[in-house]
């Protein structure tokens, strides 16, 4: 069949969507009054957005056979940077630009260390995970930073007022959707995107064919930092303050979402849309468990089981078709 690969991709996404719908259906049957409501769906989407932002770029990182453990710390740090800039009287645009620049700069540092010094990405980002977290705490003097200002940043992930219902989603979610489309198209239809896959698939071959491995990797990790910064922006919007201790462990949720979405940690495989659905699956389960009255520890066990099951199922499927 011509275009067979495209079909396979569609099939993969479709089966993920089906899994999500199934989970949604189960909780809807368990809690028919409160779970399958537009309001609840919107809440799940709003909660997912913070993690999903980072998952977009993490998809690139993991497809290139890398890993980025620093995204949670970057998100927290960026939320503090934005809060501090606002508190000092800068405008919201300046604050956002400063925060995102900070995130991208940390990502750039990750990328340079990984590509130039050839230190493994696990080690490099484990280091920045601690460094950035520490820097965020120092910047916030070990407390949350409250700018005490009413700016439009606060509404990026807020509920829409009744007269604004026509927008369907708050701006933050629209931004996520737009960026997801952009990331998906870039991965498939640009040289950069193809080089990311090539590096993850066979780095030796890519080098032999003249792919600029170093530059590509620097870009990948810079993007990861930038998108972690966007997570930080969303985090700020949700908390309305900068919190250096927020988003602890977020990097693992991001990685889990990407892996549930069909990416392989050994590189070469993964899809942007899959990653988004992966994150949605996790947050749907969390929301469902909460509404069903299950305590937090049960939610954690369920989420963990789902991650392992999803990956095991995927491997089984791959082995069957291979």
């Amino acid at each position: 069949m011509r275009r067979s690969e495209t079909w396979r991709g569609v099939l993969n996404t479709a089966s993920l969507l089906a899994a999500w719908l199934l989970i949604f259906l189960v909780f809807s049957l368990l809690r028919p009054d409160s779970f399958p409501t537009a309001r609840n769906l919107e809440t799940i989407l709003r909660q997912s957005t913070i993690v999903a932002m980072s998952a977009l770029a993490m998809t690139y990182v993991i497809i290139s056979a890398g890993i980025d453990l620093s995204v949670g710390s970057i998100a927290a740090c960026v939320s503090v940077v934005i809060a501090v800039l606002l508190k000092e009287g800068h405008g919201p645009w300046t604050a956002v630009a400063g925060g995102l620049a900070c995130g991208a700069a940390i990502g750039l540092a990750n990328g340079l260390l990984i590509a130039r010094l050839k230190v493994g990405p696990f080690i490099v980002t484990l280091g920045t995970y601690l460094i950035v977290r520490g820097a965020a705490k120092g910047l916030g003097q070990e407390q949350t930073v409250d700018p005490q200002r009413q700016v439009w940043l606060n509404d990026l992930l807020g509920s829409l007022a009744p007269e604004e219902r026509w927008r369907i989603f708050p701006n933050g979610i629209w931004l996520l959707i737009a960026l997801a489309v952009l990331a998906a198209v870039t991965l498939r239809h640009t040289r950069f995107g193809r080089h990311v896959v090539a590096i993850g698939s066979n780095e030796q071959a890519a080098r032999l064919c003249g792919v600029n491995i170093e530059a590509t990797k620097v870009w990948i990790y810079t993007l990861s930092g930038l998108f972690a910064g966007l997570s930080g922006l969303m985090l700020f919007s949700r908390l309305r303050l900068g919190d250096p201790t927020a988003a602890v462990g977020m990097e693992l949720e991001v990685i889990a979402g990407v892996v549930i979405g069909g990416a392989s940690l050994s590189g070469g495989e993964g899809s942007v849309v899959g990653s988004i659905i992966g994150v949605l699956i996790m947050y749907t389960i969390r929301s469902g468990c909460a509404q069903y009255g299950l305590p937090n520890w049960v939610q954690e066990i369920v989420t963990g089981a789902i991650i392992v099951a999803a990956v095991a199922l995927d491997r089984l499927r791959v082995r069957k078709t291979a």
Partner: protein, 502 residues
């Protein structure tokens, strides 16, 4: 005037001279065979041509102008492409994406897919594969078609020189035949082709001319050219002559060998087949016998050993030790009195970070204690006495294996088998990369083990040692045992001829 000229190329790695003033000239529309034993300098020469390494001396010309590639990409841009033995493709990308990897037609970074696919299709059609879908993910193609993709990569960007490095080592006969067609079509379209192969029948089939390398030099041909260039038309050379040129060196090493008398059969292998290699292996091994296994790289020597030991999956067939069927992996092999020495001492053979004692006693720890508690004293005492009898040079058995020389490391690895008192020793390249004295000591150990009634299966790529140490030698070709004869009836030339199918 030849299209590709390499003049007086020399290259040293440390003290070893890999290439010594080698010259080679290939015309457009010529297929040149390049043959030689492992380590004769073929791959060094080709790596220089492909821009992977730079020569210490000498120069190259391409189409009359200076050619000095700085990198593989640079070489490709200037028109020299290599089809590797281990394919360098990205399995997750499509055929078209692989063919143009690194040189994708694009506008502002966005791929021009139609252009990409059109040009790939054109290249595939020229190679005689117009039906191969350019959208297919390469990982889903069979090996033979992946190779076509790699050749298409060379043709699509207009390379004029194509180097094949052992292209058929993983192909079936029909696929190899189709590959020859492709090589011929490259010749027709005026490409200069360099074709490296161990298989002489294959060289005879596709190559117009042959150059033989030995010990980093071109072996002078009939014409006796003194300027270093030498090639002969394939038709003017007999296989015997090519083999003579490949080997042509004297043997002067010490192989201690006592009068040994083979006893009863201890190992029986019946139609043993692995996933790809080995194929349908039948062999028997007697007590006190050393059976050598020869063959080219990739002929399935190592795979045979690993299949016998149960380290790699066995698809068909059986292995019996002293009449008992082996069921299960390495653990049961050890229990049945069979021990194996891996060819990869550093990765697989030894735990380099552990001590000599730890490494030697690893497979039989239960002998040194009860209920999982190990008596270190007993362990070290045993290891110590073995280290002494093996002549391992060390400060003590508590020394880390990583600190020992290669030869002493290898003695530790063999000592492990002897300490465990196995009946059957499976040795894979036991003398690789160690000095001559240690080699001789290892030959002694093998001899002593055979005298004590142990059976030894000895895989090696170094023919003189096989001829010197073994009682019988089996020669493998393409995964099968081609022929087994007493060592006294083999010659180096005979083994090479059998291994290459000459």
């Amino acid at each position: 005037m030849p299209f590709l000229e390499m003049v007086g190329l020399s290259k040293s790695f440390g003290a070893t001279k890999a290439l010594d003033s080698v010259s080679l000239a290939v015309e457009a529309g010529e297929v040149r065979g390049l043959v030689g034993e492992n380590g004769s300098g073929k791959s060094t020469l080709m790596r220089i041509l492909a821009g992977v390494i730079r020569p210490d001396q000498g120069a190259m010309r391409l189409g009359g102008s200076e050619y000095a590639p700085r990198s593989p990409i640079d070489a490709r841009r200037q028109g020299v492409a290599m089809v590797h033995q281990e394919l360098s493709l990205c399995n997750h990308l499509s055929v078209a994406e692989n063919v143009f990897l690194g040189m994708e037609p694009s506008r502002m970074g966005v791929l021009e897919r139609n252009e990409l696919e059109r040009r790939t299709g054109k290249a595939l059609a020229r190679l005689g594969y117009p039906d191969l879908s350019v959208h297919t993910q390469v990982g889903r193609l069979p090996i033979a078609l992946r190779q076509i993709v790699e050749i298409a990569r060379a043709v699509a960007i207009g390379c004029r020189v194509v180097v094949f490095d052992e292209p058929t080592s993983s192909l079936t006969e029909e696929d190899a035949e189709r590959l020859f067609q492709v090589v011929r079509s490259l010749r027709e379209s005026g490409h200069a082709v360099v074709y490296i192969s161990h298989f002489l029948d294959e060289v005879r089939e596709v190559c117009d001319t042959v150059t033989v390398l030995r010990d980093g030099k071109v072996v002078p041909g009939e014409a006796g050219a003194s300027d270093g260039f030498s090639s002969d038309p394939t038709s003017s050379l007999s296989n015997e002559e090519i083999v003579r040129r490949m080997v042509g060196r004297s043997v002067d090493e010490l192989y201690p060998r006592s009068e040994r008398k083979p006893g009863e059969v201890v190992v029986e292998v019946r139609s043993l087949s692995g996933l790809q290699k080995p194929l349908e292996i039948d062999l028997t091994l007697r007590r006190g016998e050393v059976l050598g296994v020869a063959g080219l790289n990739g002929s399935g020597r190592t795979e045979l050993l690993r299949a016998v030991f149960g380290l790699d999956p066995v698809v068909r067939g059986e292995v019996r030790v002293a009449g008992i069927l082996r069921a299960g992996g390495p653990f049961s092999s050890w229990r049945m009195g069979m021990g194996m020495l891996s060819e990869d001492r550093k990765q697989e053979g030894l735990a380099l970070g552990l001590t000599i004692a730890d490494n030697m006693t690893l497979p039989c720890l239960q002998r040194f204690g009860r209920w999982g508690w190990i008596s270190q004293r007993a362990e070290e005492a045993t290891a110590h006495s073995w280290a002494e009898s093996l002549g391992i040079r060390c400060r003590g058995v508590g020394q880390k294996v990583a600190d020992l020389s290669g030869g002493n490391q290898q003695k530790v690895a063999i000592g492990r088998l002897l300490l465990h008192d196995v009946d059957v020793l499976l040795l894979d390249e036991p003398t690789r990369g160690i000095d001559v004295v240690s080699k001789s000591q290892i030959y002694q150990l093998i001899d002593r083990a055979a005298l004590q009634g142990k059976a030894v299966l000895f895989v090696s790529s170094y023919l003189p040692e096989l001829l010197g140490v073994c009682d019988r030698i089996a020669v493998m070709r393409r995964g099968r045992i081609a022929r087994t004869l007493p060592a006294s009836e083999w010659t180096q030339e005979g083994i090479i001829a059998e291994a290459t199918g000459a």
